[in-house]
Amino acid sequence: MTSVRNRSLPRSIRRGLAAAAALGLVAVVGLIGVGSTAASAASETTLTVAAPSEISTFNPFLSYFDSELYILNSIYPALTIGDAKNIPEPYLATKWSTSTDKLTWTFTIRSGLKWSDGKPITAADVAWTYNLVMKNATAATANGSLLTNFAKVTAPNATTLVITTKTPQANMLYTSIPVVPQHVWESKVSNLKNFKNMQFPVVGYGPWQLVGYKTDQYATLKANKDFFMGAPKYDRLVEQVFKNSDASVAALKSGQLEQDAEITATQFKALKNAKNITTYQQEPTGWTGIEINPGAITRSGKSIGTGNPILKDAKVRTAIAWAIDRKTLVTKVLDGLGQTGAGYLPSGYPQWAWQPSASQAINYDPAKANQILDDAGYKKGSDGIRTDPKTHKKLTFRLGTHSDTTSDSQIASYLEGWLKPIGISLDVQPMSFTQLNANLLKGDWDILMDAWKTGADPTYLLSIQTCGVLPKDDGTGANTDAFYCDKSYDADYKKQTQQFDQGERATTIRDMQSKLYDANVDIMLYYADGLSAIRTDKVATYMYGKANSGGIFPHQNLFYNWRTATPAATKSSSHTGVYLGIGIPVVAIIAAVGVVGLRRRSTAADRE
């Protein structure tokens, strides 16, 4: 009887066992496949880096996000490119000259270069791209502001490009935009707004060619072995999207990633002693500061907003500057991974950076701050808060902070603590970026947290401190950072736009920073170092330039990092984790199927 029952197992059990056997087979085949893929991958080197933001388009005319911009810089050429020190050097243009009236620039375009589809790259491609951005509002979405002073761009022959500007433009070499192949893009102009440039491989020229993108996951680039500056050392580059920085750090630790260029100070410290990982500090390219409302006005001088009039008094602003302990902020908020703030332009661009002299510098000195306010007649009341002698109002100011920025709330706590002893109380008001920005432009604020990052050309950052970007009387046209308006600063601003000698221009820009520093409208608190981490067991060289005595590298340009990164000598890595990762779920499924089958079998006799 028993043998008969065994031979004719119930159908459900047979199905269960068959399913389990099939799954087991699949697992074995799959694991072998995974192993062979890992082995074949060893012959082709891939550099996998973390994408710093999401990716939505590869259309260079519309692109905004950093992850896209890094890729676009590597797949499309430009007239110039920032060198290792972030100073423009020849790229498509081999040389250039300017006319005596400084209005005409003549560029010689490198000959012999070809787009990835084999067609030659000529000056006509450059002229077509620039004219499209100048004339088509959609094409101007991303880079239009860089070309607003351009009057005409022509290509008299294949190797000559002529740009005529409306007024002399000293930052011309900093305004290079991605150049696209005219023969590919001409047909896209009519529907430019909807064109994502995701037909792979993308026709372009650069150290890399974009060959694939998986929505919200990763972009794949292939090395251009004929790149004239030198071929990338890796065969492929993958930019992988991680939606939170803890996950990208975990991926770095497990070897899923080779580089993460934007880690936090906490992660930096945690990775400091991690095996096979090296952390790097880079010179900062941005600042965090506070702005103090000096009395919001329109371009015609009409007062607007609800800013506290006491802050119009430069002595109050100066006292606040003396009461801030910037060193403590660097130590506590940045974990020491940054520099105390002073000049408006950060040290990542040493060609423009400025620091005050010892006599001009304002350092932490609460006694001096108290003295300034005492001398100005602001008397402390019984509660320790000072009162304005004219209006008899207390020195209580609103401090607007970004609710989505953790460091803002930390800084606000310190500021409250430092200003109270000098008789100033703060009403901290966290708000969304949008709300804060809206309040700013209407002048409805006293003190606000502020932060900026800049590229190598400081023109824009300097421009938002000029009187010309104050709002018009109807409230439109505002682009001011803090309602700072000083005619001598404006004169310097105009002067530096026309100084073609970059050394002279730098001197003027430093003078402008000195004026900003003395005004105490924008008080720089600190510059956060750029923090990154590299898998040094997989990548032999990544960073370029020399670290200073504090171990801080110059600000890095990914165009060079990605191209010059060299794979480390290959070591046979263990695939135990991969096998376990695939094996565990498969075994779990097989076990579940098996248990169900066996249970049905064991209860077969009890069925009604």
Binding site: K214, D216, A250, F433, L461, I582, I584
Partner: protein, 356 residues
């Protein structure tokens, strides 16, 4: 076995038998249709009200998407104005409301400000990963939760009951985001002698070029941690409901009858108690199914899973109103449709509902 004709021995003609039976069927069908129509109308009304509330909420949010999009980038006021005009942000609210209603009715969900492409396309390309993640986690948590709930409720106070209730309720109280990060740190980095087992993010290894089976296993490997996170947080509700339903059934006379028939205790539970206790669970399961596409926002963000949850998170950040409204329509519709299905299924499963 009696023949059909034996039901009505008085009737001689077949037609005389057929007519009253057809009428009964018609009556049953028309009752069902009336019930279905009532539920459908209620669902449509709920959908319309939800959409209006959603639109109003999104519209009163203080927002300037253009300044958020261009945050930290050199942009002139003229560029900002052009961008506002291109994206239609400068249109009055009533105009945007009419566009929104039109979009909803036509199924064209508009144009995302942030991604600068059609909302339908964006949702279409991300709904697959979300359904895979939420579908697999729901199946596992339903099976696990109901099994544990049935066993716990059958022997209230037993060790299994105390352990499963304690563990599941504790996990239910844990924030999903936190649990996700902990699992990620433990299993994708490795700890002690345990190597990194699962990837830290994504849906597959970038540039995977192995076989199809290998790719499926690769996706499975990426799926484990996000799926496990969701299962651990969600299965408690099934445990709780199933447990209390089984406890309600414990003293029922039909269980005594089943035992009197000589059935083993396990069979009494599986064949008699569980089917009756399942009814209340159906509603919960369908409500959970309705929330499938919406429920994964935090998990998708932790594990960089390329689904609808993360898309919504991105839309909120800007805020990208057309995209937000589009995902809101999908989320609302799925919950309402699943509720409707639950109502229908409940009628099928429970004769008492049919009798009402």
């Amino acid at each position: 076995m009696a023949s059909p004709n034996a039901i009505d021995p008085v009737s001689v003609e077949a037609g005389a038998v057929e007519r009253p039976r057809a009428t009964a069927a018609d009556r049953g069908r028309s009752t069902f249709l009336a019930y279905f129509a009532r539920k459908l109308i209620a669902a449509l009304v709920s959908f319309a009200v939800t959409l209006i509330i959603g639109f109003v909420l999104f519209s009163i949010m203080p927002a300037d998407p253009v300044s958020t999009l261009t945050r930290g980038r050199p942009t002139s006021p003229a560029q900002l104005a052009h961008l506002r005009q291109t994206l239609g942000i400068d249109q009055p609210v009533w105009h945007r409301f009419l566009t929104f209603v039109g979009h909803t009715l036509t199924g064209n969900l508009g144009y995302s400000w942030q991604y600068q492409q059609s909302v339908s396309g964006l949702i279409g390309s991300r709904i697959g990963p979300t359904l895979l993640l939420m579908g697999s986690s729901t199946v596992i948590s339903v099976v696990l939760g109901l099994w544990l709930g049935a066993h716990s409720g059958w022997r209230p106070g037993s060790i299994l009951d105390r352990v499963s209730s304690g563990v599941s309720l504790t996990l239910w109280s844990v924030p999903t985001f936190w649990l996700g990060i902990i699992l990620l740190v433990l299993f994708s980095v490795g700890f002690g002698p345990i190597p990194a087992i699962f990837p830290a993010g994504g849906m597959s290894t970038p540039d995977y070029n192995g076989s199809t089976i290998g790719y499926v296993l690769n996706v499975t490997q990426h799926l484990v941690l996000p799926c496990l996170t969701l299962v651990l947080v969600v299965f408690a509700q099934y445990v709780t409901i199933m447990r209390s339903s089984i406890i309600d059934e414990l003293g029922s006379p039909y269980l005594l009858t089943a035992r009197a028939k000589g059935l083993r205790d396990e069979m009494v539970r599986r064949k008699h108690a569980v089917p009756n206790a399942l009814l209340p669970s159906v509603t919960v399961i369908f409500l959970q199914l309705g929330g499938l596409v919406a429920g994964a926002i935090t998990v998708e963000t932790v594990y960089s899973w390329p689904g609808l949850g993360y898309l919504t998170f991105q839309a909120l950040r800007i805020p990208d109103l057309p995209l937000l409204e589009g995902t809101f329509i999908v989320f609302s519709a799925s919950i309402i449709v699943m509720n409707l299905l639950a109502d229908m299924l409940y009628r099928v499963l429970d004769p008492r509902v049919r009798a009402q």
